[in-house]
Symmetry: C2
Subunit: 432 residues, 2 copies
């Protein structure tokens, strides 16, 4: 086992709020047999880091920031030894020297929740960037349950026909959180049974649970019209995750348009003009200005009238809420149609749900809340990342999700700018 | 067009609360070309009638009670004439003399929401038993949009091989609301994508939206074990709708057990002992005491420990909430596992949702709220009704959902008993 000694540079947050310092801290060590140590190549600054930054997370101890990282495995615990017994297959495929992406939470790869794909609710789940698990804005990080957690690009390229060299490092880090989270938001909506009539052209409940061939199965069949098979989906919040959600929706809906004959329109909502401009730049990069306009951005004030205009007053079939604030849930409810779905991936805090029971009963609203199971979303996210290097590959271009890559000397300034929505997504290179 | 004149007897509610009177009121007339007049054979008293009875529904005008009715069509508006043009097919199949079941809300059968199967959110939707639409606890009722709303048993038996004469009248009225609502509660749970890994043995997201054959589709595959394919589902509230939900679950889960190889357990929760005893009687009637025990009833106090015992502390995969009170939602949250589903068909009122945003984010909870689209659930509900006449066919037996059939002279007393959970479901025969 490689042993790393000495200190490293790390971005640290001090309670109660808005206090970022760059400090020398000990290089992490292997503590458990399932651990890996990763030498970090890039560490991301994410919108949900701002919850801690602003003091909204009830944290009262100093911590090493960040939950997005890519890097190289430089040390492995004893359970990765070829002779180690009793570990799942995932633990035999990770090697020192592997280039890896780390999801923003730990997942063991062997509990019930990992087996069924709910990897963010692994029984060993832990978020990077909290007092008990130092995060990715450092030069090195300890990764618990590394066989289940880390995604090895070397293993991927050896076992699948994927040319990972096409992927820029700054795009790879999108796989740690924001692209899978955008995929998850979109997938929760499009997979929901309440959207299935529009997708397959057969009225609800169109379920495999309905006994086949029973005498009454056709008593309710009413033919859908072409106008019923139009999906209008809003994305509330056009920060980096919101853009990833919109790009994921575009990818999935374009396939459904070609294969299933549906039509669709995406409504992007954000109060910040620079974010709306970014979303439009991303959309024109993807469409190259061709085809009908299938995505429109709007301010909050314009969201309701645009929705009414596009849906004849019915409302959106689904709303993706990627903000994590109570007022975004209220707007989601206002925009969604009866029997519609709100897919909420925003990191919500203490405020109570802004709805009465009657609000929800009277509109037959469905909700899917919560954290993205990154490992389960990896295959789709990687597929979109490979296809969309035009959007995700660059840094600092009008359509780039990554605004800039900076050293830790600019960490304090970067948090301040990001907190005030004065810049896009920032990555830290811990070695410059 | 048949014309009915004179007065009829009807059960009327007076604001603000607890004031039931049996009165003579005018027989309803055809008001619109899509109307039908139904001579009522039986009118039901439903748990959600108690919301109005107790004054919880913000109603300040007198009304004719009830939203469950079966009867015979005695008059039809001009749009049912064979020469009437421009009406959907459903309007050509209804005739004077037809025995009909009326869902508890109006649905036109031709708007977008009706076409896609969300019939309870029809643009003409209206609940029976409100000041502007007199209900089913009367001798006659006017049915708006009757072609879309009413379900003709004569038409069913002529077009499908269903022997409707096997169905007792007291069981037919269950199709007006409570059996479809139970089916809906169960179906929302079993159709949800978060239950699919257990049902099909393939890890989440197992989606048809994942591009076929793309290079990375297997990068996340972890095999499910037999122990992962066990569904534990709680039903909170064992009144008549809760029993219907449990019977629906039993029907669907037994098929999934036989066809897909899953295992399951249902937990029935109710604070009222007589309801738990009824649920147990229904369960033994269905199983005839054979096979393993797959349904256990418990009080509220015992629900958490039973859930923990049956699921090794993980929690229920899904919870069906059929109560409509805030504390039932709180218990649902406590019983459901991370990445689980709460299917809520209870009629909720003014209290706000008893959850913070963080509660829902931290457990990846999904919710489906709202009213049953009865027309869309008819085929499955009728299938279960035909199969389960042993439970649904009788009146006053230990396993019967219908406790008694009474005349309007016992209406005041019946509301009082039902309000205090001192009797089971009551039907009114308006002609005795």
């Amino acid at each position: 086992m490689t042993s790393l000694v000495g200190t490293q540079r790390a971005v640290r947050w001090y309670p109660p709020a808005y206090d970022i310092r760059v400090e020398d801290v000990p290089i992490p060590q292997i503590l458990e047999p399932d651990d890996a140590i990763v030498k970090i190549k890039l560490g991301g600054l994410c919108g949900s880091d701002l919850h801690i930054y602003r003091g909204h997370e009830d944290v009262d101890a100093v911590l090493t920031c960040g939950h997005e990282l890519i890097g190289e495995v430089v040390a492995l615990g004893s359970n990765f030894h070829p002779d180690a017994a009793g570990r799942p297959e995932l633990y035999s495929t990770l090697r020192v020297g592997d280039k890896v992406v780390s999801p923003f939470t730990v997942s063991c790869g062997e509990c019930h929740f990992c087996r069924v794909g709910f990897t963010c609710r692994c029984v060993h789940s832990c978020l990077f960037g909290i007092p008990t698990l130092p995060g990715g804005q450092a030069q090195y990080a300890r990764i618990p349950k590394a066989g289940g957690t880390l995604f090895s690009l070397r293993h991927l390229s050896e076992t699948h026909n994927v040319d990972v060299s096409r992927l820029s490092d700054s795009s790879l880090i999108l796989l740690a959180d924001i692209l899978p989270t955008g995929v998850f938001a979109a997938l929760q909506a499009l997979q929901h049974p309440k959207l299935s009539p529009m997708l397959i052209g057969c009225s609800y409940p169109n379920s495999t649970l309905i006994p086949k061939g029973h005498a009454t199965e056709e008593t309710n069949s009413i033919a859908l019209l072409a106008q019923d098979r139009v999906l209008t989906i809003a994305v509330i919040g056009l920060g980096p995750v919101g853009v990833c959600a919109a790009v994921s929706l575009l990818d999935m809906l374009s396939r459904l348009e070609a294969e299933n004959g549906i039509h669709f329109h995406i409504i992007g909502v954000d109060p910040v003009e620079s974010r709306r401009v970014k979303m439009e730049a991303v959309y024109s990069t993807i469409t190259r200005g061709q085809g009908p306009q299938q995505l429109t951005v709007t301010s909050i004030d314009g969201a309701k009238s645009l929705t009414n205009k596009l849906t004849n007053g019915a409302g959106c079939n689904a709303v993706l809420e990627v903000v994590g604030q109570s007022n975004a849930l209220t707007l989601s409810y206002e925009l969604v149609r009866p029997f519609g779905l709100i897919s909420s991936v925003g990191v919500h805090q203490e405020p109570p749900m802004p709805f009465t029971g009657r609000d929800l009963y009277d509109k037959n609203v469905s909700f899917d809340f919560g954290r993205c199971p990154v490992r389960a979303m990896f295959p789709i996210a990687l597929d979109i990342l490979l296809k969309r290097q035009d959007v995700f590959g660059g840094v600092g271009e009008p359509a780039s999700l990554i605004d800039r890559i900076v050293g830790f000397d600019r960490a304090v300034e970067s948090y301040e700018l990001f907190d005030k929505s004065r810049c896009g997504k920032i990555l830290f290179d811990p070695w410059i």
